[in-house]
Amino acid sequence: MPRADHGSTGSPTASRRRVLRTVGATGAAGIGLAGCVGRGETGPRTVEVAANTDVKDNLDEIQSKLYEAGLSQDIELDVIAGSASTGARKQQYNRWLSANLETPSLFMMDSGWTIPFIVRDQVANISELRPKLAKDVQEGVFDTFVQSLESRNGDLYGIPLFPTTGSMLYRKDLVKEAGYAPDEEGWATSPLSWKKFSEVTKKTREKTDTQYGYTFQADAYEGLSCCDFKEFTATWGGSYFGARENLFGPVNDRPVTVDSEPVVKATRMVRTFIDGDASNALDSVTGDISPRAVLQWSEEPSRKPFSNGNAVMHRNWPYAVAINGAEDVFGEELGLMPIPYGVKEEDAKFDGYGGSMSSLGGWHICLNPNSPNQEMALEIMEAMTDEDFQLFLFEKLGWLPPRPELFESDRAKEVPVMGRYLKTLKQTVENSVPRPVTVAWPQQSTKIAQKANASFGGEASPKQNMKTLQQQLERIEEASARETEGGQ
């Protein structure tokens, strides 16, 4: 049977050669052409910054404000806008810094994962390079926030950029319609109890016929373990690792307390919110105030129903306040209050917890130790600590200032939308708890999120799930301790 077809396509030699040549030539030409079309050459006084789309979109203004804050006019910034997913950015920076890449010089790092980089010596020690700057920063910035930038011996490894905390957004108009008086009762600074909160939500939802009561993030992702679940448990006086001083370790030398009574209670509470008739329901709160869909919601999916007017209460970060407080959404009818509490601070089981608590997030700016532009980069970092610059970021991007005193300033109060909520926001930052970031945290976070999500959804009882989680976390602690792994 004939195999290769000789005749039909004309001379096979010529056509074959033609194909190869064309392919090769196009490829080579493409590369050559692209090389000639100067692909992104940066000048000698350019500092590359790995940040996000916010910074990239507003680079011109940011740069001019930095000049006003004292940055030399000949230094320019160039922004690499990374993935929107914070986890993906972390992995990307880890790859780059492990490979000793010289650019970018500055990295915008999530406060939730800066510590692993510090532990691995992948970011520069600011306390050594600019001792005075470091000292000023450590004294002027919120204590809880600067903790996530320090090494075990107290050295500072970057400049805090802006903190974020969880707070409770609510519809003032709906709540008033249901007969409550949020302003008179001072909800903005006096946290409600979960008991009252759930009552209010249910009643408001019924009276105003709103689709959802309380929307929050309960998808099995980092955001659940670091933040939403941490808030639920902390407000009941519970924690993952016992007293607050154990947050950052030492790994395997601290108790694991997820099966403690307050944690189980908090889990039962959330289960009750979703399904009031659950077998493990918590009697002290009103149930059926959250849709089952929260089990699949992260920040944005949970915000949308609230912004569309279909929810009464919503837990989220400050960016959601900026969106929902805008004139064309709810304007002044957006209320903000601290996260409700389960037990008071003095009654909390673990030291440092209880009362209204928020999870602390936020971002820092860190320096690449391999950067040849260290001096210029340090100048930029110093300019970023300028008061006016930080207030500009608050105005423009809704980024909370890292310094408590700036919350009291007049200029802050004049900022549209965000300026209305300064008291609540400051309070939430003061009562915030950072996430327990250690080398073991990424794995522990996944397990906690899985078990919390499973408990909320009714797969096995909260008590059982927390018991299993306890064992899982203990095993991870063992596997991540400093002394193991073949003598390091």
Binding site: R3, A4, R16, G27, E299
Partner: protein
């Protein structure tokens, strides 16, 4: 042949003819089908064919619906768009320089394909037409490369392509390190070459092994050198195989996810491919799924054209190459 078949069929019908009047429409159709199986097969064929087409093309259709939906109405996108916004197909280029990403993908694809074809032709010729010690073990080793997840190659390659590997030191004190290919086409083209060579070698080996023996000897008798015989006589005969291997390699490179994501920093001017292009539609708070869908459809177009043009060639190439004895 056909006649005898018909005779047999009419014999059967005659036997049951008397009962026909007593049956209703369905029974009549059923018996008609039984007596004329071709009709049933025909109907069945069309049903099956159309269901295949629907399941295969539906995701593309849905992507189109998604692309045409305006950003504000991006919930519950069903069979018809909630609104009509064809500007999305233009916005994709203004929001993100998607054309640059596509250009990068195509160029890297062509470059890798050229490289793979050259190397695989030589290797396929060697494997296909020579018996030499170590032939089978070598082929198995080449195949074994594909057993490893791409992640297994990542760390050393990443260090290699970011100038972190020192080869040796020269007496003057300078060191010779590996090149800095990160953010360049080489950082992707080289791993791709290694990843996709096994398949192309396999295809071309098959082709070459089926060219009749003795052609080289005839060519050499006529005065051609070994290489001359190879290039002038043998290679042209493998044109269908080369086309097949080329198209499959290009498709594989264009579609690749892992190295495309890791070997650049994501900016279009740094040779990032459409993987990054699509990811950059993730905005400040939400992802513009409609724009991503529009960009996806545009991104599939070059390959779709390639498939339309080359599908005849691929199939005949694989056929002629002998996926048989």
């Amino acid at each position: 042949m056909a006649a005898s078949q018909e005779t047999r069929e009419t014999e059967t019908t005659r036997g049951t003819g008397d009962e026909e009047e007593h049956r209703n429409v369905v029974q009549r159709w059923a018996s008609g089908s039984m007596n004329n199986p071709n009709r049933t097969y025909r109907a069945l064929f069309y049903i099956v064919a159309i269901s295949f087409l629907v399941t295969t093309l539906f995701p593309f259709y849905w992507l189109l619906m998604l692309a045409l939906t305006p950003s504000a109405k991006l919930t519950d996108v069903g069979l018809l768009p909630n609104g009509f916004n064809p500007e999305a197909f233009l916005t994709v280029f203004t929001k993100v320089p998607f054309h640059v990403y596509m250009f990068n993908s195509i160029v890297i694809g062509l470059f890798t394909t050229a490289l793979v074809l050259v190397i695989a032709s030589l290797a396929g010729y060697a494997f296909g037409r020579f018996e030499f010690p170590g032939r089978t073990p070598l082929m198995l080793i080449f195949l074994a490369i594909s057993y490893f997840p791409p992640a297994a190659f990542l760390l050393p390659l990443f260090r290699l392509f970011t100038a972190n590997v020192t080869f040796f030191s020269l007496p003057g004190g300078t060191t010779v390190t590996s090149p800095m290919l990160f953010n360049g086409p080489g950082a992707m083209a080289l791993p791709y070459t290694a990843l996709f060579l096994p398949l192309s070698i396999f295809i071309l080996t098959t082709f070459y092994s089926q060219i009749p023996d003795g052609l080289e000897d005839a060519a050499r008798v006529e005065g051609n050198s070994r290489l001359g015989a190879l290039f002038k006589i043998i290679m042209p005969l493998s044109a269908p195989g080369v086309a097949t291997a080329g198209v499959l390699t290009f498709i594989a490179v264009y579609n690749e996810y892992f190295f495309a994501f890791l070997m650049t920093d994501g900016r279009a001017q740094n040779w990032s491919t459409i993987v990054w292009g699509l990811l950059s539609y993730q905005g400040r708070f939400e992802t513009s799924y409609n724009l991503m869908a529009a960009a996806s459809l545009l991104g599939v177009i070059p390959i779709a054209i390639l498939v339309v043009v080359a599908q005849e060639k691929i199939v005949s190439g694989l056929t002629a190459g002998g996926l048989k004895e």
